[in-house]
Amino acid sequence: MKIDKKPAEMIKIDYCPSGKNWMDPLVEFKKGNYLYPSKPDSMDALGIPNPRKWSPEDDDWQLPENWQEIIFEGLRDRLDRYRSLKIFMDCCVRCGACADKCHFFLGSGDPKNMPFLRAELLRSIYRREFTKAGKILGKLAGGRDLTPAVVKEWFYYFFQCSECRRCSVFCPFGIDTAEITMVARELLALLGITIEWITGPASNCFKVGNHVGIKPHAFVDSVDMLVDDIETLTGIRVEPTFNRKGAEVLFITPSGDFFAEPGIYTFMGYLMLFHQIGLDYTFSTYASEGGNFGLFLNHDVMKGLNAKMYAEAKRLGVKWILGGECGHMWRVVNQYMDTMNGPADFLEVPVSPITGTRFENARSTKMVHITEFTADLIKHDKLVLDPRRNDNYKVTFHDSCNPARAMGLFEEPRYILNHVCNNFHEMPENTIREKTFCCGSGSGLNADEFMETRLRGGMPRANAVKYVKDKHGVNLLSCICALDRAAFPPLMHYWVPGVEVSGLHELVANALVMDGEKERTENLRGESIENGEGGE
């Protein structure tokens, strides 16, 4: 055999990925980098067209015959309806301010996860079809033809955007890239391209009342189990009510809070707090979900799920709604509720029955965030708190994206933390408050099949947690979002082992001195309280 290469040439290894032009839409789907498509049943339930069985690994995605027309019509309709979208399509100058602000870019190094470039995947189609320059000059004007490969590329990248809006904070034009992702996902859904982790929960929520599909009697059973646990811990039997007409307040929280650890401890915290202050409240078994996966699918489903909460408030005749530690529920309520379903005129402007504080900020939505409510209680000395009961924790706080960037809710959680624990350490300034890094699993991406990509997207947040762990010995990451509480445990196990995850009201309840309670020797997790009141 004749070998015409020198040994050094034969072993030459090319480590560099091929330098692809961004206009090339080819992406490779393999297990771990895509979310499972919607099942026909859940698509039917939500009226999503083209229900079928398919896989992103298939060559043929079984698009409707007139799929291009559907996309163009869908985009035209949205450009007409949303002035903001038209501006976002036209005004980006690709200055690059957002380029390195996306957690998925920072974790993957994939340039198409730079927010402006991800948006460009849609903009290029808009230019080609809707602008004169694009129609005439095509690629020269940054336009691309709409091909099946482009659709696949959209599915790949718009489901690597968690709609966290961190990039928008840095955009000099104020472009809300999350809304571009929302529109792109809506367009994909018009072709029947969406994921089961979104349509399954949204369909459950309509049919049963919550995303995880816990039926009313099982919801009551779940809460009863937690009531038993509280009694074991404190000697006090709290008595939540369900669907009670005439209650003053309807309390709505995400189903993650009564479904799994560590959310259940936060839920126990709510129950203990409400019992202690004697709040006249009730749960709805039909609005047993604060989350709104419609936000991640299309505006119709988002509107419907949001309306369900208000319909229940009306049916039960409550005065106002108190909302738990949820993320995107608050984005929907603060940014979209008013124009979708509001104003909620049939409710009253929320007034705390304990302090008399009138929550003017909620005068239109009639919905108060639990941390606003609790911070107000503390401010008015209505709670007896023993922060030493949390002394086994060195706590840091993750600003959950939606309460932070859609509500500006920065101070209340910190005010509470500073009263319920003695060891609270902030992560670096450019990773908190409005610049907070996403958990990497928001907007319906927290399915187990997507674990690898989630770990990638969560890397910048974990990096900041590692910083405070190394510097201050932090061992607890607290947050005010149920998705965070579900997404962070694996993220911490992989990147920062030794850091547990909690909600804020778990820590409140640990510190809360309840009337008639027995001596507290354990926290809500059953861990021994090292420096609790027993030490007095």
Binding site: I13, Y15, G19, G109, E449, L455, N463, Y494
Partner: protein, 174 residues
């Protein structure tokens, strides 16, 4: 450190800055140029976790290769880099290939010094052996990381199932 290492170690220490930057560039070459520009330019570790982890990692590995740090410390740095590579859709070979880069950089930087037959050659062989040891360790770390990712996925799925069964009173909670 064996006595024969001495000259090479001195050479590495003298050229540390240059070697670090060349090796860093070699790692950055695994990324598209638009990304490499950001990973190279942003110095704040919070704003650039990939770049800062990589730079700190190879700097720590160089300490070990020039006999200024323990193997244990080197493995910690290696772990930090490989765990990132393990979630970046890389083949095992792609995840560890950057380690081979330092051999080439040292060889080319040393020019004639490290050719077969030259006085430094035995030193270089020892150096290369240490790099090979790191490559093998990196493969182990890569596999452990990948296994952990699958385990996390299984745990998450099992935990949901457990809760559901418990709710249905089909199993007794511990």
């Amino acid at each position: 450190m064996k006595k024969t290492d001495a000259d090479l170690i001195a050479y590495l220490r003298e050229n540390r800055e240059n070697l670090t930057s060349q090796w860093f560039e070699r790692v950055l070459a695994d990324y598209p140029p638009e990304t490499a520009r950001i990973l190279r330019g942003e110095k704040d570790p919070m704003a650039n976790p990939l770049g800062s982890t990589t730079l700190a990692g190879i700097s720590g590995l160089l300490d070990y290769l020039m006999a200024s740090a323990s193997r244990e410390a080197a493995l910690n740095h290696l772990t930090a880099i490989i765990r990132v590579h393990a979630i970046q859709d890389r083949l095992p070979s792609q995840a560890v290939s950057f380690l081979t880069g330092i051999k080439k950089i040292v060889l080319e930087g040393g020019q004639k010094k490290f050719r077969d037959g030259d006085p430094f050659w035995p030193d270089y062989l020892l150096f290369a052996e240490r790099v090979d040891d790191l490559i093998l360790a990196a493969l182990d770390i890569f596999m452990q990381s990948r296994e952990q990712i699958y385990q996390l996925r299984v745990d998450e799925a099992k935990s949901s199932l457990f809760t559901l069964l418990q709710r249905k009173n089909l199993i007794q909670a511990e």
